[in-house]
Protein backbone atom coordinates (compact mmCIF):
# COMPACT_ATOMS: atom_id res chain seq x y z
CA UNK A 1 0.00 0.00 0.00
CA UNK A 2 1.33 3.39 -0.97
CA UNK A 3 0.53 6.23 1.39
CA UNK A 4 -0.19 9.63 -0.15
CA UNK A 5 -0.21 12.35 2.46
CA UNK A 6 -2.09 15.39 1.24
CA UNK A 7 -3.37 18.76 2.33
CA UNK A 8 -6.65 20.32 1.19
CA UNK A 9 -6.00 24.05 1.00
CA UNK A 10 -9.29 25.90 0.60
CA UNK A 11 -12.41 24.35 2.11
CA UNK A 12 -15.24 25.99 0.19
CA UNK A 13 -17.66 24.06 -2.03
CA UNK A 14 -14.90 22.32 -4.00
CA UNK A 15 -12.64 21.53 -1.03
CA UNK A 16 -15.63 20.01 0.74
CA UNK A 17 -16.50 18.08 -2.41
CA UNK A 18 -12.97 16.64 -2.38
CA UNK A 19 -13.41 15.54 1.25
CA UNK A 20 -16.74 13.89 0.41
CA UNK A 21 -15.30 12.12 -2.61
CA UNK A 22 -12.27 10.87 -0.63
CA UNK A 23 -14.62 9.46 2.00
CA UNK A 24 -16.80 7.83 -0.65
CA UNK A 25 -13.85 6.38 -2.55
CA UNK A 26 -11.69 5.23 0.34
CA UNK A 27 -12.13 1.56 -0.44
CA UNK A 28 -11.78 2.06 -4.17
CA UNK A 29 -8.46 3.84 -3.64
CA UNK A 30 -7.26 1.18 -1.22
CA UNK A 31 -8.08 -1.54 -3.76
CA UNK A 32 -5.86 0.40 -6.12
CA UNK A 33 -3.09 0.31 -3.55
CA UNK A 34 -3.48 3.93 -2.47
CA UNK A 35 -3.91 5.09 1.10
CA UNK A 36 -4.84 8.75 0.64
CA UNK A 37 -4.34 10.42 4.00
CA UNK A 38 -5.40 14.04 4.46
CA UNK A 39 -2.99 15.52 7.02
CA UNK A 40 -4.34 19.08 6.88
CA UNK A 41 -7.58 20.79 5.95
CA UNK A 42 -7.22 24.56 5.71
CA UNK A 43 -9.78 27.32 5.24
CA UNK A 44 -9.48 31.09 5.46
CA UNK A 45 -9.61 31.06 9.28
CA UNK A 46 -7.20 28.26 10.11
CA UNK A 47 -6.67 24.52 9.89
CA UNK A 48 -7.31 21.07 11.27
CA UNK A 49 -4.10 19.09 11.39
CA UNK A 50 -3.20 15.46 12.10
CA UNK A 51 -0.14 13.53 10.91
CA UNK A 52 -2.18 10.30 11.08
CA UNK A 53 -4.92 11.76 8.92
CA UNK A 54 -7.74 14.10 9.91
CA UNK A 55 -11.29 12.84 10.27
CA UNK A 56 -12.87 14.19 7.07
CA UNK A 57 -16.45 13.49 8.17
CA UNK A 58 -15.78 15.51 11.30
CA UNK A 59 -14.25 18.36 9.25
CA UNK A 60 -17.32 18.48 6.99
CA UNK A 61 -19.68 18.51 10.00
CA UNK A 62 -17.74 21.29 11.75
CA UNK A 63 -17.60 23.36 8.56
CA UNK A 64 -21.39 23.06 8.23
CA UNK A 65 -22.03 23.92 11.88
CA UNK A 66 -19.43 26.57 12.63
CA UNK A 67 -18.53 27.81 9.14
CA UNK A 68 -14.88 26.85 9.62
CA UNK A 69 -12.61 23.89 10.26
CA UNK A 70 -10.11 26.08 12.11
CA UNK A 71 -8.68 24.47 15.24
CA UNK A 72 -5.24 25.92 14.83
CA UNK A 73 -4.20 29.33 13.60
CA UNK A 74 -2.10 28.37 10.62
CA UNK A 75 -2.36 29.36 6.93
CA UNK A 76 -2.24 27.14 3.88
CA UNK A 77 1.14 28.57 2.94
CA UNK A 78 2.52 27.69 6.38
CA UNK A 79 1.11 24.16 6.12
CA UNK A 80 2.82 23.71 2.75
CA UNK A 81 6.12 25.03 4.05
CA UNK A 82 6.23 23.34 7.43
CA UNK A 83 4.37 20.01 7.29
CA UNK A 84 5.70 16.94 5.53
CA UNK A 85 3.42 15.59 2.82
CA UNK A 86 3.37 14.67 -0.86
CA UNK A 87 0.35 16.35 -2.43
CA UNK A 88 -1.29 19.76 -2.16
CA UNK A 89 -4.93 19.84 -3.26
CA UNK A 90 -5.31 23.54 -3.99
CA UNK A 91 -8.97 24.60 -3.99
CA UNK A 92 -8.79 28.24 -2.87
CA UNK A 93 -11.00 30.73 -4.76
CA UNK A 94 -9.91 31.99 -8.17
CA UNK A 95 -8.36 35.43 -8.39
CA UNK A 96 -7.47 36.36 -11.95
CA UNK A 97 -5.92 39.72 -11.12
CA UNK A 98 -3.11 38.63 -8.80
CA UNK A 99 -3.42 34.86 -8.69
CA UNK A 100 -4.32 35.23 -5.01
CA UNK A 101 -3.23 32.80 -2.30
CA UNK A 102 -3.39 30.00 -4.86
CA UNK A 103 -0.37 31.26 -6.78
CA UNK A 104 1.74 31.57 -3.62
CA UNK A 105 0.60 28.14 -2.45
CA UNK A 106 1.47 26.44 -5.73
CA UNK A 107 4.90 28.05 -6.03
CA UNK A 108 5.69 27.20 -2.40
CA UNK A 109 4.58 23.61 -2.97
CA UNK A 110 6.88 23.24 -5.98
CA UNK A 111 9.73 24.78 -4.06
CA UNK A 112 9.38 21.91 -1.61
CA UNK A 113 9.02 19.37 -4.40
CA UNK A 114 5.36 18.63 -3.57
CA UNK A 115 2.83 17.62 -6.21
CA UNK A 116 -0.16 19.88 -6.84
CA UNK A 117 -3.69 19.15 -8.06
CA UNK A 118 -5.89 22.22 -8.39
CA UNK A 119 -9.25 23.62 -9.45
CA UNK A 120 -8.00 27.20 -9.16
CA UNK A 121 -7.92 29.00 -12.55
CA UNK A 122 -6.32 32.26 -11.41
CA UNK A 123 -2.67 31.20 -11.14
CA UNK A 124 -2.85 29.21 -14.37
CA UNK A 125 -4.38 32.10 -16.27
CA UNK A 126 -1.67 34.51 -15.14
CA UNK A 127 1.49 32.44 -14.75
CA UNK A 128 1.05 29.21 -16.64
CA UNK A 129 4.56 28.97 -18.03
CA UNK A 130 6.23 29.87 -14.73
CA UNK A 131 4.17 27.32 -12.80
CA UNK A 132 4.74 24.50 -15.25
CA UNK A 133 8.47 25.18 -15.48
CA UNK A 134 8.87 25.49 -11.71
CA UNK A 135 7.02 22.20 -11.22
CA UNK A 136 9.15 20.50 -13.84
CA UNK A 137 12.41 21.77 -12.38
CA UNK A 138 11.36 20.54 -8.93
CA UNK A 139 10.23 17.16 -10.24
CA UNK A 140 6.71 17.91 -8.98
CA UNK A 141 3.58 16.64 -10.71
CA UNK A 142 1.09 19.37 -11.55
CA UNK A 143 -2.45 18.57 -12.69
CA UNK A 144 -5.39 20.92 -13.18
CA UNK A 145 -8.20 19.14 -15.04
CA UNK A 146 -10.76 20.65 -12.66
CA UNK A 147 -9.96 24.20 -13.82
CA UNK A 148 -11.76 23.69 -17.15
CA UNK A 149 -15.24 22.27 -17.53
CA UNK A 150 -15.63 20.94 -13.96
CA UNK A 151 -16.29 17.22 -14.19
CA UNK A 152 -16.04 17.21 -17.97
CA UNK A 153 -12.67 15.88 -19.11
CA UNK A 154 -10.91 18.15 -21.61
CA UNK A 155 -7.24 18.67 -20.74
CA UNK A 156 -6.37 15.07 -19.86
CA UNK A 157 -8.70 13.91 -22.62
CA UNK A 158 -6.77 15.87 -25.23
CA UNK A 159 -3.32 15.18 -23.84
CA UNK A 160 -3.66 11.53 -22.89
CA UNK A 161 -6.68 9.83 -24.39
CA UNK A 162 -6.19 11.54 -27.73
CA UNK A 163 -2.38 11.44 -27.56
CA UNK A 164 -0.83 11.41 -31.02
CA UNK A 165 -3.66 13.44 -32.52
CA UNK A 166 -2.85 16.97 -33.55
CA UNK A 167 -5.71 19.07 -32.15
CA UNK A 168 -6.66 21.87 -34.52
CA UNK A 169 -9.21 23.67 -32.41
CA UNK A 170 -11.51 23.37 -29.42
CA UNK A 171 -14.92 25.03 -29.36
CA UNK A 172 -17.40 24.81 -26.59
CA UNK A 173 -19.55 26.06 -23.76
CA UNK A 174 -17.30 26.39 -20.73
CA UNK A 175 -19.53 28.37 -18.39
CA UNK A 176 -22.64 26.75 -16.95
CA UNK A 177 -24.06 30.01 -15.59
CA UNK A 178 -24.20 31.63 -19.04
CA UNK A 179 -25.62 28.46 -20.54
CA UNK A 180 -28.34 28.38 -17.89
CA UNK A 181 -29.25 32.05 -18.42
CA UNK A 182 -29.46 31.74 -22.22
CA UNK A 183 -31.42 28.47 -22.00
CA UNK A 184 -33.94 29.95 -19.55
CA UNK A 185 -34.29 33.26 -21.44
CA UNK A 186 -35.42 31.30 -24.48
CA UNK A 187 -37.71 28.96 -22.52
CA UNK A 188 -39.42 31.76 -20.60
CA UNK A 189 -39.05 34.49 -23.22
CA UNK A 190 -37.80 36.53 -20.28
CA UNK A 191 -35.23 39.32 -20.14
CA UNK A 192 -31.60 38.86 -19.24
CA UNK A 193 -32.12 40.78 -15.97
CA UNK A 194 -35.05 38.59 -14.88
CA UNK A 195 -33.25 35.32 -15.53
CA UNK A 196 -30.05 36.59 -13.93
CA UNK A 197 -32.08 37.29 -10.78
CA UNK A 198 -33.52 33.76 -10.92
CA UNK A 199 -30.03 32.28 -11.37
CA UNK A 200 -28.78 34.17 -8.31
CA UNK A 201 -31.70 32.91 -6.27
CA UNK A 202 -30.88 29.33 -7.27
CA UNK A 203 -27.19 29.83 -6.52
CA UNK A 204 -26.29 29.21 -10.17
CA UNK A 205 -24.97 32.77 -10.59
CA UNK A 206 -22.79 34.45 -8.01
CA UNK A 207 -23.78 37.71 -6.30
CA UNK A 208 -21.27 39.43 -8.55
CA UNK A 209 -21.87 37.60 -11.82
CA UNK A 210 -19.44 39.75 -13.85
CA UNK A 211 -16.78 37.03 -14.34
CA UNK A 212 -19.36 34.65 -15.75
CA UNK A 213 -21.67 36.84 -17.83
CA UNK A 214 -18.97 39.04 -19.34
CA UNK A 215 -17.22 35.94 -20.65
CA UNK A 216 -14.14 36.40 -18.42
CA UNK A 217 -14.44 32.95 -16.85
CA UNK A 218 -14.72 31.34 -20.28
CA UNK A 219 -11.72 33.35 -21.48
CA UNK A 220 -9.60 32.16 -18.53
CA UNK A 221 -10.45 28.55 -19.31
CA UNK A 222 -9.50 29.08 -22.94
CA UNK A 223 -6.16 30.51 -21.83
CA UNK A 224 -5.52 27.34 -19.83
CA UNK A 225 -6.47 25.18 -22.83
CA UNK A 226 -4.33 27.29 -25.16
CA UNK A 227 -1.31 26.87 -22.90
CA UNK A 228 -1.84 23.27 -21.82
CA UNK A 229 -3.01 21.74 -25.08
CA UNK A 230 -1.70 24.04 -27.80
CA UNK A 231 1.59 24.78 -26.04
CA UNK A 232 1.10 28.54 -26.30
CA UNK A 233 2.18 31.14 -23.78
CA UNK A 234 -0.92 33.32 -23.53
CA UNK A 235 -2.73 35.28 -20.85
CA UNK A 236 -6.20 36.73 -20.50
CA UNK A 237 -5.08 39.86 -22.39
CA UNK A 238 -4.79 37.81 -25.58
CA UNK A 239 -8.45 36.84 -25.63
CA UNK A 240 -11.09 38.65 -27.63
CA UNK A 241 -14.11 38.60 -25.28
CA UNK A 242 -17.81 39.43 -25.66
CA UNK A 243 -20.29 38.38 -22.96
CA UNK A 244 -24.00 37.68 -22.95
CA UNK A 245 -25.38 40.79 -21.20
CA UNK A 246 -26.73 42.31 -24.42
CA UNK A 247 -28.61 39.22 -25.59
CA UNK A 248 -32.36 39.81 -25.86
CA UNK A 249 -35.20 37.26 -25.62
CA UNK A 250 -36.34 38.46 -29.06
CA UNK A 251 -32.95 37.59 -30.57
CA UNK A 252 -33.11 34.13 -28.98
CA UNK A 253 -36.61 33.61 -30.29
CA UNK A 254 -35.82 34.74 -33.83
CA UNK A 255 -32.75 32.54 -33.89
CA UNK A 256 -34.80 29.61 -32.61
CA UNK A 257 -37.47 30.04 -35.29
CA UNK A 258 -34.60 29.94 -37.75
CA UNK A 259 -33.34 26.65 -36.29
CA UNK A 260 -30.65 28.03 -34.00
CA UNK A 261 -29.91 28.65 -30.34
CA UNK A 262 -27.57 31.36 -29.09
CA UNK A 263 -24.73 30.09 -26.87
CA UNK A 264 -21.67 31.70 -25.35
CA UNK A 265 -18.97 29.87 -27.27
CA UNK A 266 -15.29 29.80 -26.43
CA UNK A 267 -12.98 28.94 -29.27
CA UNK A 268 -9.27 28.24 -29.18
CA UNK A 269 -6.72 27.27 -31.81
CA UNK A 270 -3.09 28.11 -32.43
CA UNK A 271 -3.96 31.45 -34.04
CA UNK A 272 -6.87 32.74 -32.05
CA UNK A 273 -8.67 32.72 -28.73
CA UNK A 274 -12.15 34.08 -28.86
CA UNK A 275 -15.28 34.25 -26.68
CA UNK A 276 -18.60 35.45 -28.09
CA UNK A 277 -22.28 34.56 -28.32
CA UNK A 278 -22.77 32.46 -31.46
CA UNK A 279 -25.63 30.93 -33.42
CA UNK A 280 -25.58 27.16 -32.99
CA UNK A 281 -27.91 24.90 -35.03
CA UNK A 282 -30.47 23.23 -32.74
CA UNK A 283 -29.25 19.72 -33.66
CA UNK A 284 -25.53 20.60 -33.34
CA UNK A 285 -23.54 18.66 -30.70
CA UNK A 286 -22.70 21.95 -28.94
CA UNK A 287 -26.38 22.87 -28.50
CA UNK A 288 -26.66 21.52 -24.94
CA UNK A 289 -29.01 23.21 -22.46
CA UNK A 290 -29.23 24.05 -18.78
CA UNK A 291 -25.98 24.38 -16.88
CA UNK A 292 -24.15 21.76 -18.97
CA UNK A 293 -20.72 22.34 -20.38
CA UNK A 294 -19.58 20.92 -23.71
CA UNK A 295 -16.41 20.91 -25.78
CA UNK A 296 -15.81 19.82 -29.32
CA UNK A 297 -12.24 18.98 -30.27
CA UNK A 298 -11.32 19.10 -33.93
CA UNK A 299 -8.61 16.48 -34.23
CA UNK A 300 -6.31 15.65 -37.10
CA UNK A 301 -6.90 11.90 -37.20
CA UNK A 302 -10.15 11.30 -35.36
CA UNK A 303 -12.17 14.24 -36.69
CA UNK A 304 -14.57 16.00 -34.33
CA UNK A 305 -14.93 14.58 -30.84
CA UNK A 306 -17.41 16.10 -28.41
CA UNK A 307 -17.59 15.71 -24.65
CA UNK A 308 -20.27 17.10 -22.42
CA UNK A 309 -20.85 17.13 -18.68
CA UNK A 310 -21.49 19.13 -15.57
CA UNK A 311 -19.26 22.18 -15.51
CA UNK A 312 -19.69 23.03 -11.84
CA UNK A 313 -20.84 21.58 -8.54
CA UNK A 314 -18.69 20.49 -5.63
CA UNK A 315 -18.70 16.70 -6.04
CA UNK A 316 -18.60 16.99 -9.84
CA UNK A 317 -15.51 19.21 -9.76
CA UNK A 318 -13.98 17.00 -7.06
CA UNK A 319 -14.32 14.05 -9.44
CA UNK A 320 -11.85 15.77 -11.78
CA UNK A 321 -9.51 16.34 -8.83
CA UNK A 322 -9.80 12.68 -7.84
CA UNK A 323 -8.95 11.53 -11.37
CA UNK A 324 -5.87 13.79 -11.38
CA UNK A 325 -4.81 12.37 -8.02
CA UNK A 326 -5.27 8.80 -9.19
CA UNK A 327 -3.40 9.41 -12.43
CA UNK A 328 -0.39 10.84 -10.53
CA UNK A 329 -0.01 8.02 -8.00
CA UNK A 330 -1.50 4.95 -9.67
CA UNK A 331 1.50 4.08 -11.80
CA UNK A 332 4.28 5.12 -9.49
Amino acid sequence: MKTVRCSIIGFGAIGQGVAEVLLMKKEYLENMGLDVRVIAVVDSRGATLSPEGVDLADCLARKREKGTVAQEKITGLEVIKSIDHELVIETTPTNIETGGAGLQNMLAAFEKGLDVVTSNKGPLTLKYRELVETAKAAGSKFRFEATVGGSMPVINFAKEVLAGNNIRSIKGILNGTCNYILTRMLEERASYTDILAESMELGIAETDPTYDVEGIDTACKLVILANAIFGLDTTYEDVDVTGITKITPEALEMAYENGHVIKLIGEVSRDRIHVAPRLVPINHPLAVGGTLNVASLDTELAGEITVTGRGAGSVETASAILSDLVSIYREQ
Binding site: K246, A255, L279, L286
Partner: protein, 167 residues
Protein backbone atom coordinates in the same frame (compact mmCIF):
# COMPACT_ATOMS: atom_id res chain seq x y z
CA UNK B 1 -36.65 27.89 -58.84
CA UNK B 2 -34.79 31.04 -57.97
CA UNK B 3 -33.80 33.10 -60.99
CA UNK B 4 -31.71 36.22 -61.33
CA UNK B 5 -32.49 38.60 -64.13
CA UNK B 6 -30.55 41.65 -65.28
CA UNK B 7 -32.77 44.19 -67.02
CA UNK B 8 -32.36 47.76 -68.22
CA UNK B 9 -34.96 50.49 -67.75
CA UNK B 10 -35.28 53.78 -69.61
CA UNK B 11 -34.32 56.62 -67.31
CA UNK B 12 -37.84 58.09 -67.24
CA UNK B 13 -40.56 57.86 -64.59
CA UNK B 14 -42.90 54.87 -64.45
CA UNK B 15 -40.47 52.30 -65.80
CA UNK B 16 -40.21 50.22 -62.63
CA UNK B 17 -43.95 49.61 -62.72
CA UNK B 18 -43.65 48.33 -66.30
CA UNK B 19 -40.93 45.98 -65.13
CA UNK B 20 -42.79 44.62 -62.14
CA UNK B 21 -46.24 44.21 -63.72
CA UNK B 22 -45.27 41.22 -65.90
CA UNK B 23 -43.79 39.49 -62.85
CA UNK B 24 -47.01 39.91 -60.96
CA UNK B 25 -49.08 38.78 -63.97
CA UNK B 26 -46.98 35.62 -64.25
CA UNK B 27 -47.21 35.06 -60.49
CA UNK B 28 -43.49 35.20 -59.97
CA UNK B 29 -42.41 35.97 -56.44
CA UNK B 30 -40.04 38.90 -56.34
CA UNK B 31 -37.21 38.33 -53.84
CA UNK B 32 -34.95 41.33 -54.39
CA UNK B 33 -34.70 44.35 -56.62
CA UNK B 34 -31.38 46.13 -56.96
CA UNK B 35 -31.86 49.43 -58.69
CA UNK B 36 -28.50 50.81 -59.79
CA UNK B 37 -29.73 54.32 -60.49
CA UNK B 38 -26.31 55.87 -60.21
CA UNK B 39 -24.72 53.49 -62.74
CA UNK B 40 -26.32 54.44 -66.06
CA UNK B 41 -25.26 52.25 -68.98
CA UNK B 42 -23.66 53.81 -72.10
CA UNK B 43 -27.15 53.49 -73.58
CA UNK B 44 -28.39 55.81 -70.81
CA UNK B 45 -30.51 53.06 -69.34
CA UNK B 46 -30.69 52.12 -65.66
CA UNK B 47 -29.46 48.61 -64.82
CA UNK B 48 -31.70 46.66 -62.45
CA UNK B 49 -31.00 43.24 -60.99
CA UNK B 50 -33.99 41.13 -60.06
CA UNK B 51 -34.08 37.90 -58.16
CA UNK B 52 -37.35 36.02 -58.37
CA UNK B 53 -38.88 32.73 -57.47
CA UNK B 54 -40.83 31.14 -60.34
CA UNK B 55 -41.39 27.95 -62.31
CA UNK B 56 -38.82 27.51 -65.10
CA UNK B 57 -41.58 27.21 -67.74
CA UNK B 58 -42.80 30.71 -66.89
CA UNK B 59 -39.50 32.37 -67.73
CA UNK B 60 -40.00 32.76 -71.53
CA UNK B 61 -43.41 34.32 -70.89
CA UNK B 62 -41.99 36.75 -68.30
CA UNK B 63 -39.21 37.70 -70.69
CA UNK B 64 -41.61 38.27 -73.60
CA UNK B 65 -43.95 40.42 -71.52
CA UNK B 66 -41.06 42.53 -70.20
CA UNK B 67 -39.86 43.13 -73.76
CA UNK B 68 -43.41 44.03 -74.83
CA UNK B 69 -43.28 46.72 -72.15
CA UNK B 70 -40.11 48.08 -73.70
CA UNK B 71 -37.75 46.65 -71.14
CA UNK B 72 -34.45 45.21 -72.24
CA UNK B 73 -33.67 41.82 -70.69
CA UNK B 74 -29.88 41.54 -70.68
CA UNK B 75 -29.40 38.26 -68.89
CA UNK B 76 -31.46 35.51 -67.32
CA UNK B 77 -29.75 32.95 -65.21
CA UNK B 78 -30.21 30.57 -62.40
CA UNK B 79 -29.77 32.37 -59.17
CA UNK B 80 -26.08 33.06 -58.78
CA UNK B 81 -25.91 33.33 -55.00
CA UNK B 82 -24.82 29.92 -53.83
CA UNK B 83 -23.99 30.59 -50.18
CA UNK B 84 -26.11 32.09 -47.46
CA UNK B 85 -25.71 32.91 -43.82
CA UNK B 86 -27.85 34.14 -40.95
CA UNK B 87 -26.60 36.79 -38.57
CA UNK B 88 -28.29 38.28 -35.51
CA UNK B 89 -27.79 41.96 -34.72
CA UNK B 90 -28.72 43.37 -31.32
CA UNK B 91 -28.77 47.04 -30.36
CA UNK B 92 -30.39 50.18 -31.71
CA UNK B 93 -30.68 48.47 -35.06
CA UNK B 94 -33.41 50.75 -36.42
CA UNK B 95 -32.41 54.09 -34.92
CA UNK B 96 -28.90 53.74 -36.28
CA UNK B 97 -30.30 53.22 -39.80
CA UNK B 98 -31.13 49.70 -40.89
CA UNK B 99 -31.35 50.70 -44.56
CA UNK B 100 -27.82 51.96 -44.46
CA UNK B 101 -26.66 48.67 -42.95
CA UNK B 102 -28.40 46.74 -45.74
CA UNK B 103 -27.02 49.05 -48.42
CA UNK B 104 -23.47 48.42 -47.29
CA UNK B 105 -23.93 44.75 -48.15
CA UNK B 106 -26.11 45.17 -51.24
CA UNK B 107 -23.82 47.64 -52.94
CA UNK B 108 -20.98 45.10 -53.05
CA UNK B 109 -22.66 43.29 -55.95
CA UNK B 110 -21.32 39.97 -54.63
CA UNK B 111 -23.72 39.72 -51.72
CA UNK B 112 -27.16 40.87 -50.73
CA UNK B 113 -29.44 41.03 -47.75
CA UNK B 114 -32.12 38.53 -48.73
CA UNK B 115 -34.26 38.58 -45.64
CA UNK B 116 -34.66 40.60 -42.51
CA UNK B 117 -36.73 39.87 -39.41
CA UNK B 118 -36.92 42.68 -36.94
CA UNK B 119 -38.20 42.76 -33.39
CA UNK B 120 -38.68 46.04 -31.54
CA UNK B 121 -40.15 45.42 -28.10
CA UNK B 122 -40.75 49.13 -27.44
CA UNK B 123 -39.64 52.67 -28.09
CA UNK B 124 -36.11 53.26 -26.83
CA UNK B 125 -35.68 49.57 -26.13
CA UNK B 126 -32.98 47.42 -27.65
CA UNK B 127 -34.13 45.83 -30.87
CA UNK B 128 -32.97 42.62 -32.47
CA UNK B 129 -32.72 41.64 -36.11
CA UNK B 130 -32.09 38.40 -37.94
CA UNK B 131 -30.49 39.06 -41.29
CA UNK B 132 -30.01 36.55 -44.07
CA UNK B 133 -27.16 37.33 -46.41
CA UNK B 134 -26.73 35.60 -49.76
CA UNK B 135 -23.42 35.72 -51.57
CA UNK B 136 -21.62 34.29 -54.57
CA UNK B 137 -19.45 31.96 -52.50
CA UNK B 138 -17.83 31.33 -49.15
CA UNK B 139 -15.18 33.99 -49.65
CA UNK B 140 -17.84 36.58 -50.44
CA UNK B 141 -19.77 35.56 -47.31
CA UNK B 142 -16.66 36.25 -45.24
CA UNK B 143 -16.15 39.59 -46.99
CA UNK B 144 -19.71 40.66 -46.31
CA UNK B 145 -19.36 39.64 -42.66
CA UNK B 146 -16.29 41.84 -42.41
CA UNK B 147 -18.33 44.74 -43.78
CA UNK B 148 -21.11 44.00 -41.33
CA UNK B 149 -18.58 43.80 -38.51
CA UNK B 150 -17.31 47.30 -39.29
CA UNK B 151 -20.84 48.68 -39.52
CA UNK B 152 -21.78 46.99 -36.24
CA UNK B 153 -18.75 48.40 -34.45
CA UNK B 154 -19.62 51.90 -35.68
CA UNK B 155 -23.24 51.55 -34.60
CA UNK B 156 -22.45 49.73 -31.35
CA UNK B 157 -24.44 46.66 -32.39
CA UNK B 158 -23.72 43.18 -31.07
CA UNK B 159 -23.27 40.80 -33.98
CA UNK B 160 -24.01 37.13 -33.27
CA UNK B 161 -22.40 34.95 -35.92
CA UNK B 162 -22.99 31.28 -36.74
CA UNK B 163 -20.57 28.92 -35.08
CA UNK B 164 -19.10 27.61 -38.33
CA UNK B 165 -17.73 30.90 -39.67
CA UNK B 166 -14.60 32.70 -38.65
CA UNK B 167 -15.65 35.35 -36.13
Amino acid sequence: MRVSMDIELKDVPGQMLLALQPLSECRANLITVLHHHQKLTPRKTVPVQLVLETRPENIPDIKARLEENGIKVVRVGEHRFRESINVVLIGHVVHTGIQDTIDEIDKTGFAEVADLTLSMPGIDMISSALIKINALGKEEIQKSLNILKEVSAKKDLLMVLPIDVQA
